[in-house]
């Protein structure tokens, strides 16, 4: 070989050594990057190796080949010394990350990740996290106001002044099996059957037995039964289309799946519910409905009486007054107070049934105001303005925007000699425009 050629080779070798040793990048931040890589906070000194298939199930030889290929370029770009430092730092960082990964897998985040991937049941995840000393936050719940069934003072005073006599109760249902109590008086034309109390708490009884526990034992069936009842209270003539019921019961699920599941639930309904409960449900090919006329339902009676009261002016019949007072005593209780819990358990609150319950509660409040106004009207006609003011004030508190109530209240106040209060109401412009 000629000496000139050897010179060239020597130069080329020097160039190659230099090529490998010299960094090709601006490495001003190398120290910081190496520190972060060593601590495991950062995965790579510059960037990811980007070796395709490193995490897939390739052969070892293929992975090695690819890794070597990637490392070649890192060596060229970083330069020999920085490359060695980077490799060492990455190795140490990997070990640190492994330790952290092991900790993470046992910690709340790791357990949650497994739960989200479906490897761990949510309740088990929550139990394990709670065992670590700090449980996962439960679902926020608003404080439900459970109204107690307390009759108004006026009613009690009246009751005390009257000689004891058996009364028919609508809201406060008789205890089943209590033989000493007289059976409730049935309205004419209404067949005896299921009695449903929805105010304050849910109670479903027949003359002989309390069926509530049996109904509530299966939450999904209880949901369907009560949902149909709610729909019937809002519109007694219309049934619920099967698709609508399925969508309510299984929101966000594929429609065919919804229909199939609903069929199973309706089958369960017929299989597991007592015949007395099932009698109220009409299951058709297209629609499912609640036959409200086959039961005595407290809310339905309140709505009915409120309709009648709208058509009545002045004095009420004694029996009508008695029933109105009884109903007013229970109408302040909340309609199906446990509905939200049941809905949460069955549909996780994703359906729209809560809105229907709200509508019933609004209608109930409206009916209560109407009944109070009718009672006030009666007391005023009976020249008992003090009692009229009590009833009408209660109505006014509930619905200060009802002009008929305000007008009657002003009349009652004037009749009772409370001119100041009557003037105040007028001044607010809530009643008649100007005094006569």
């Amino acid at each position: 070989m000629r000496p000139e050629a050897l010179d060239v080779l020597w130069v080329l070798l020097c160039w190659a050594v230099l090529f490998l040793a010299m960094p090709k990048r601006a490495l001003g931040t190398l120290a910081v990057r190496l520190r972060l890589v060593r601590s495991g906070t950062r995965l790579h000194v510059l960037g990811p190796p980007g070796v395709p298939g490193v995490f897939s199930e390739e052969s070892s030889l293929s992975r090695l080949r690819k890794q070597l290929g990637a490392e070649w370029w890192r060596l060229i770009e970083l330069g020999g010394i920085a490359w060695v430092l980077a490799l060492a730092g990455e190795n140490r960082g990997r070990a640190r990350r492994q330790e952290r990964l092991a900790l993470w897998q046992r910690g709340p985040s790791g357990l949650l990740w497994r739960c989200l991937l479906g490897e761990l049941a949510p309740d088990r995840m929550e139990a394990t996290v709670a065992d670590l000393g700090c449980r996962v936050a439960p679902k926020a719940t608003r404080e439900l106001r459970h109204h107690h069934l307390v009759p108004p003072m006026a009613w009690l005073r009246e009751g005390e002044s009257r000689p004891a006599q058996p009364t028919a109760s609508v809201g406060l249902l008789p205890q089943p099996g209590a033989e000493s109590q007289e059976p409730p008086e049935e309205p004419p034309g209404q067949p005896p059957g299921l009695q449903v109390q929805t105010l304050g708490t849910l109670r479903v009884i027949t003359a002989a037995e309390d069926l509530t526990a049996g109904l509530l034992r299966r939450p999904t069936l209880a949901f369907i039964w009560q949902y149909l009842l709610i729909r019937a209270l809002l519109n007694s003539r219309a049934g619920v289309h099967r698709d609508a019921l399925a969508d309510e019961l299984y929101p966000g699920v594929d429609p065919s799946q919804q229909r199939r599941r609903l069929s199973h639930r309706l089958y369960d309904l017929q299989k597991f519910l007592r015949p007395e409960l099932l009698d109220a449900i009409a299951i058709g090919d297209l629609e499912v409905g609640f036959q409200i006329e086959r039961c005595r339902i407290d809310v339905a009676r309140i709505f009915q009486l409120a309709q009648e009261a709208k058509r009545t002016e002045g004095l009420l019949a004694r029996s009508q007054l008695q029933e109105l007072s009884d109903l007013l005593a229970v109408a302040s209780a909340e309609f199906l107070p446990d509905w939200e819990d049941l809905e949460q358990a069955v549909t996780e609150g994703r359906g729209t049934s809560g809105d229907l319950v709200r509508q019933v509660r609004q209608r109930l409040e409206e009916a209560r105001v109407t009944l109070l106004a009718a009672l006030g009207d009666h007391e005023l006609a009976a020249r008992n303005p003090g009692q009229a003011v009590l009833a009408l004030e209660e109505a006014y508190e509930l619905r200060p925007d009802r002009l008929d109530v305000v007008s009657k209240l002003i009349d009652a106040l004037e009749a009772g000699g409370q001119q100041g209060r009557a003037k105040e109401l007028r001044r607010r412009g809530l009643g008649r425009d100007q005094p006569a």
């Binding site: 070989m1 000496p3 050897l6 080779l9 020597w10 130069v11 070798l13 020097c14 160039w15 190659a16 230099l18 090529f19 090709k24 990048r25 601006a26 910081v32 990057r33 972060l36 906070t41 995965l43 790579h44 510059l46 960037g47 990811p48 190796p49 980007g50 070796v51 395709p52 995490f55 690819k66 290929g69 070649w72 370029w73 890192r74 060229i76 770009e77 990964l101 993470w104 709340p108 949650l112 990740w113 989200l116 991937l117 949510p122 995840m125 000393g133 700090c134 449980r135 996962v136 936050a137 439960p138 926020a140 719940t141 608003r142 939200e340 809905e343 996780e348 994703r350 729209t352 809560g354």
Partner: protein, 357 residues
Amino acid sequence: MARALQSRPPQPPAAEGGWRMRAWRPAAAFGLVSLALAVLVILVERSSLPGAGAGLDAFRRLGPIALVALLLLAGSVALVLLLMPDARESALWEEPLLPPPAVPAVRGRSALIGLLALEAGAGASSLAFNLAVLIAAEGGCIEEGGSRRRPRPLCLLSEGGLTEALGLDPKPLRLHVESLAGRINEEVIDLAWRHPSGCELLCAPRGLIDRHRLRLLRLAVERHYEVILVDAGTQDSWLQEAAQDVSDALLLIALPTEQSLAAAAAAAEQAQMLHLLPRTTLVVNRLRSSSIHPEHLEPFHHHAFLPEDSSPLAAQGDAHDERLPWSILPGSAAALQLHRLAFQLLPDTFGRPVDAT
């Protein structure tokens, strides 16, 4: 090297110049230096300096071996060039070295944090969801009724892709507002869906939540949640206005693009006029290079950067499912930045600093 650079796939517009420049400049410098060294070596070899000739003689004896070594070296480099386009590509990738976030602290119970997207697809919904899960999973413990529990954030997500993926329906909240003639009361809590992490999610229908309703919503729920996160997308200008007005802290979510940065400049002007800058933070999401010009950040007192994620678990494909919160993954650079952000933003709720060593 030049061939490798030419074969690179297109990069995001803002990052492209930076990448190419960073790769070319050292290559050019290397070429010049090696040329100069070659000339120097030849000059040394031709010279008659004592000692230099002996070294050259020794090298000449090893000539054939050096030749083989060089051929092998060149061959392996060529092989890598031919077979490993991805490896060649990856070597040019440089993850930015990000500064820790600088975010104003919000103290007190039930802080309302607004996340405003400056560009469609900026990731405001994803960040709101991930932040909520992160706080619920790793927030500081709270004593309640004799036991300890994690914080319970409420995340109001704008109707969109993420809410669809999570199966959240905007209808219940719309019905709630309509049934109450525009008001919002405590019953809205029942509409929130509880995520397994413990955070609760509500889907906000487009154009429904304005300033007044957001205030009502806050009043109705603030006793029940430690943090309220509001995701205000670009398509819901009412919610954006409301979040801007009602939030205790405002995060403007931008991408490293010209469009986002222009929107950020406009938002900064508006925030300055409304004296909102002290509680506003510019969050640059999915950052792939550190080529953000400082002038874009200048008007903001606070800013944070979240990198494009490259954690090993994210690479498995699991984290591509947007229902899975990447913020709780270990080894994720974006999650680490979000941890730091959450700790600075909510020191009372988040509770503990991030292990940054």
